[in-house]
Symmetry: C2
Subunit: 396 residues, 2 copies
């Protein structure tokens, strides 16, 4: 199949707040082949900038737009997608945003190939089994402990056996305030598994993080996520040494496989969390999942957007039995819910797996997101950059 069109759809809630809720906007990518197949993907973070990275004029030989590595190329097999990813990394070496743009394009290529070959992506990736995961509800701390308690209680009452809380003011105020939030979370979710996400709040400050470890032990937290900058390997390693019970988790900021592998090698994390919409797509995610398994580190998806992105994440590590958990965004914006015709559902055992239908196995609902679409027009010297014709709206 020759790839002859890549179209972007930027959707956003009418009001985008300063909350850490990543589902307030979305960048959907549709890839079409000359013989009439189409695939869909989703880029995480800053839609306008990711679109610009696709259409920008080139700066030099290794600072080319992402479009240069996909339009007109041929995809017949998984190896072709890997080849295009490698070309993109070389051609767009100096274009920092390229990895985020490519992530959505690459997902769409897998979806396209799966539909063409009538196989689910997890099989295209070479996995022998599709192992369902226990979803954990991913929630933000409430403004008050009471609100946190309430959110936790609702999560377990709707059937979750694992819940993660994060962000809010956690880690930036007093230890007492953090303890109150953690205790409220524990009480709200009762005996469910509890994880805590610090959102890089301590930078590289090991002491600030270490002061919270006893509080996390009190509530038997499974992991502490992103205590530091994703490059602060020594801080991670030192905290890991000082936290024998509460494991460290991280990796969502990785924009290539090596970043995640280095956090494992040098940072001592025990759970590596990958956002398929940032890291370079499904192939990059699987590369990390395979590496992590070899290191005895557990791969978990990072997903806080639509179920299109969630499906891509689940395919990426579907075959790894040691990965028993998956992040499940439990409080999506109306926009993120509208992206797919049907959501991924928990099965009778309460687990979630990658769909077994062809491609990513989810149907995008373009009508559903139409009310959220934002028209983007980028002109240089008066010319509309039309490498992605759908920039101007619905793309038809």
């Amino acid at each position: 199949m020759q790839i002859n069109a890549v179209d972007f759809f930027y959707a956003a809630m009418p009001v985008v707040t300063l909350d850490a809720d990543g589902s307030q906007d979305a960048l959907l990518v549709r890839v079409r082949s000359a013989d009439g197949f189409e695939g869909w993907g989703e880029c995480e973070a800053s839609p306008l900038v990711s679109i610009a990275a696709f259409v920008t004029p080139r700066s030099h030989g290794v600072c080319q737009p992402v479009s240069a590595s996909v339009i007109g190329e041929t995809v017949e097999s998984a190896a072709d997608i890997t080849r295009l990813s490698e070309n993109m990394r070389r051609n767009s070496m100096d274009l920092l945003q390229a990895a985020h743009t490519w992530s959505g394009v690459e997902m769409a290529l897998w979806d396209l190939l799966g539909k063409r070959l009538e196989l689910p992506v997890w099989q295209l990736l070479g996995y022998q089994h599709n192992v369902s995961k226990t979803p954990y509800a991913s929630l933000l701390f409430g403004a008050t402990p009471e609100e946190t308690y309430q959110r936790g209680r609702e999560a377990v009452e709707s059937g979750y056996s694992a819940v993660k809380f994060g962000w809010g003011g956690f880690g930036s105020g007093t230890l007492d305030a953090d303890r109150a939030q953690l205790q409220a979370a524990r009480e709200g979710i009762r005996s469910a598994q509890l994880m805590v996400d610090a959102g890089q709040i301590w930078g590289e400050d090991v002491e600030a993080a270490a002061a919270r470890i006893p509080l996390l032990e009190e509530v038997t937290a499974l992991w502490l996520e992103e205590p530091f900058s994703p490059y602060a390997y020594l801080a991670h390693a030192e905290l890991a040494r000082r936290s024998p019970q509460v494991a460290l988790a991280g990796g969502e900021a990785s924009h290539n496989p090596e970043m995640a592998k280095n956090l494992i090698r040098f940072g001592g994390i025990k759970y590596v969390q990958i956002d398929t919409g940032r890291v370079g797509g499904i192939g990059a995610s699987k590369d990390i999942a395979d590496f992590a398994a070899g290191e005895g580190v557990i791969y978990v998806n990072h997903s806080f957007t639509s179920h299109l992105a969630l499906s891509a994440s689940l395919h990426s590590f579907a075959g790894h039995e040691s990965s028993v958990l998956c992040e499940f965004p439990a409080a999506l914006s109306p926009l993120a819910k509208a992206v797919t015709v049907d959501p991924l559902l928990r099965d009778r055992e309460g687990k979630v797996g990658a769909p077994n239908a062809a491609g990513l196995g989810v149907e995008v609902n373009l009508d559903g997101v139409s009310e959220y679409l934002r028209e983007v027009e980028i002109r240089v010297d008066g010319s509309v950059l039309t490498a992605a014709p759908a920039l101007l709206g619905r793309g038809e």
Copy 2:
């Protein structure tokens, strides 16, 4: 001073080729204060994408446009610039391109502050001395060894005592082809110091790189630059172990200080090369220079664009006496030459130093680049994103 305007000027050569010549386009940044001062900076790589990162609508609390961290802020001291940089890294955590955009803005803030306080930036940074450096001519390998020889000969005849060659086909063909290029370079530059830049050509392939070490020893190369991906620490460390004579250099891809420090810590490089226009600006560069000095690693600037960017680079490590070399782009495009009224010149000893005039000490020649300016217009839902009014051309 309150910062009340940040304007971008995107300039490009009429034809941008696939050569590795980073001077084919430029993104200049002008920052103005409410009390009438102005400062200038330059972002490296992909002007359109970096502009988009300044004006994009926010995605959520830690994916805000770069503009959110500077417009309306107050700058009275060096500490204020550091504070704004820290705010930007938090506010734009999930906006990958933000570091490149910020680099130019941050440079301009130092220039502005220096002009206001009537001090050169190197003094604002706390350096006691401004130590001039021996410039090395930074050249691309020719298409043939003869062409490489000629370029090298011209460089030494025009007074350079150190020359770096890179890119072209180096490293991707046969060993004999590489040897011929290296021998031609050595013959062309006679007894001058020789450095070689591989431009990440070997990915993570240690054997491919190691096969070239004897060839580099034959021509007594000082360093081998960027043999691998900037995240391939283990490959760097292994090659460093196998190359006792030819040092490894790298770091230009760093988009934050931690990336560069990790390449030093874990990769075994002996020269760390920082592009002030990518890494987050002058403050980030100095942070790395100070760290490198403590580790016995030599800091060198990476500069392949205008003398505005070169000046910012030189201020960043002006006070470090162990850094005796500086990269000096010796074959700039007409556009890059046009950016400043006067170029930085070698002194009577053949050295180059940071200017001692106020701020960055170079004057931007907006008239000179006017013929190269590209008009950029970015609209979302029909509204022009005018946070940077000069996007529409000359900015007046």
